[in-house]
């Protein structure tokens, strides 16, 4: 329907999740509950403001018995029907003509087809001037919004750009978010003016992306420090060795001193996540001694010999 009313406009009763036979009290209760859940200051989700707007629009119409009657009769485009058309007479004439849609989903099934050309551009925003405007409150700054931004350890390490798609009042929008190198869990990236819309020319709110670093198969993240497991054979741990450890910058050689037990942390200074204004975090390789699941005959003989010769008791107090 080019130029016609928005085809995706949902039915007001559906939005408030009430039957078409709901009493005014039930409509009020449903509205209050949904408004509490979706108010942009209670719910920081960028989609909440749209839902709140939809709920408020539905309530504005259904809470007034006269407007509700017109909505029931004429459907979503009731505002385009002249005031002097009697809803009951209109429905009777439709029923008589065999249109028979009254009570179906979306009210009377829409009136827009015939009138769409001239009135199609009508927008509830223009009528209400934003959710909070037009009610005697003057210009109100838009609400700040928050969305989670999940990054890999590598992305947090290197920084870069990430394209993020969000649902907004003007449909979907794609934002290019610059990720500074060295962001950490819980850090907020602010996009000025990308939050809720201000009314009557007031400033928009800001959109904050809260960084969450996704679980990584190899690295654990704590602040800017990275932890990585370092599996060692018992003899490597006992005799000392030099092994390669993977870091976000590439492989690094780590010297394991003789007599290293499980749980010991070998620190690679400043090889953790970078800090934009200071020292980078550290990378800790945590030793984990691993034994072969199955021993060869020779290995078994040597271990048995070691067991006989050694006086070492790891449980001695």
């Amino acid at each position: 329907m080019p130029g016609g009313p928005r085809a995706d406009r949902r039915d007001f009763y559906e939005i408030l999740d009430v039957p078409r036979t709901a009493t005014q009290d039930e409509i009020q209760r449903a509205y209050r509950q949904l408004a509490r859940q979706n108010h942009p200051d209670v719910n920081k989700d960028p989609g909440a403001e749209d839902r709140f707007k939809e709920i408020s629009e539905a309530y504005d119409v259904l809470s007034d018995p006269q407007t509700r009657r017109r909505y029931d009769a004429f459907g979503p485009d009731f505002r385009q029907v002249p005031e002097d058309v009697d809803p009951e007479a209109f429905q009777r004439s439709r029923a008589g003509a065999g249109a028979g849609q009254a009570g179906g989903p979306g009210g009377a099934g829409g009136f827009g087809a015939g009138l769409g050309g001239d009135f199609g551009g009508i927008n509830i925003e223009d009528l209400l001037g934003g959710i909070f405007a037009g009610r005697g409150f003057g210009p109100i700054r838009g609400a700040d919004q928050e969305a989670e931004l999940e990054l890999t350890v590598e992305e947090a390490f290197q920084g870069g750009h990430r394209s993020v798609t969000l649902e907004g009042p003007d449909g979907r929008r794609t934002l290019d978010v610059r990720i500074p190198a060295g962001v950490t869990n819980g850090q907020r990236i602010r996009l000025a003016g990308q939050g809720g819309r201000g009314s009557e020319g007031a400033r928009n709110g800001d959109l904050y992306f809260v960084v969450r670093i996704a679980p990584h198969p190899r690295y654990r993240v704590e602040g800017r420090d990275l932890y990585v497991d370092l599996p060692l054979a018992p003899w490597e741990a006992a005799l000392g060795t030099s092994v390669a450890v993977e870091t976000p910058r590439g492989e690094m050689k780590v010297k394991v001193p003789p007599g290293t037990s499980t749980g010991k942390r070998l620190r690679l200074r400043h090889h953790g996540l970078p800090h934009p204004r200071g020292n980078a975090g550290h990378l800790y390789a945590e030793v984990k001694i691993v034994v072969p699941a199955k021993l060869t005959d020779e290995e078994r003989r040597l271990f048995e010999e070691l067991a006989t010769v050694s006086t070492f008791d790891p449980r001695r107090r």
């Binding site: 959710i131 409150f137 003057g138 210009p139 794609t174 869990n185 819980g186 679980p215």
Partner: protein
């Protein structure tokens, strides 16, 4: 579209400028300061000064009032509770993070 991180400069607004910027009456602003809903500093001459961050606080107060019809005294309680919930949610999320 690219957005850079924005450095917020901390400027101050006097009562008149703050009221004008928020489209409210200075008496209302003064009352919200008295109710502890808005933070303001008083200079030697007794004039109130507001940090720009208070514009966002005022926006929230106005939206809560418009959305729920909450009176200004109760708005203070609601905003305090919302702030406390935000802190608790952040802490909860931190504690739930895997690999800790």
């Amino acid at each position: 579209m690219g957005y850079a991180l924005v450095l917020v400069r901390s400027a101050s607004l006097n009562l008149e400028a703050f009221a004008r910027a928020t489209g409210t009456h200075p008496d209302l602003v003064r009352r919200l300061v008295a109710l502890g809903v808005l933070d303001a500093n008083r200079d030697a001459a007794g004039e109130l000064w507001f940090a720009t961050g208070q514009l966002a606080v005022m926006g929230r107060v106005q939206r809560l009032r418009a959305g729920f019809g909450i009176n200004y005294a109760a708005v203070g309680l609601v905003t305090d509770l919302l702030d406390r919930i935000a802190v608790l949610e952040a802490a909860l999320q931190e504690a739930r993070r895997p690999g800790r």
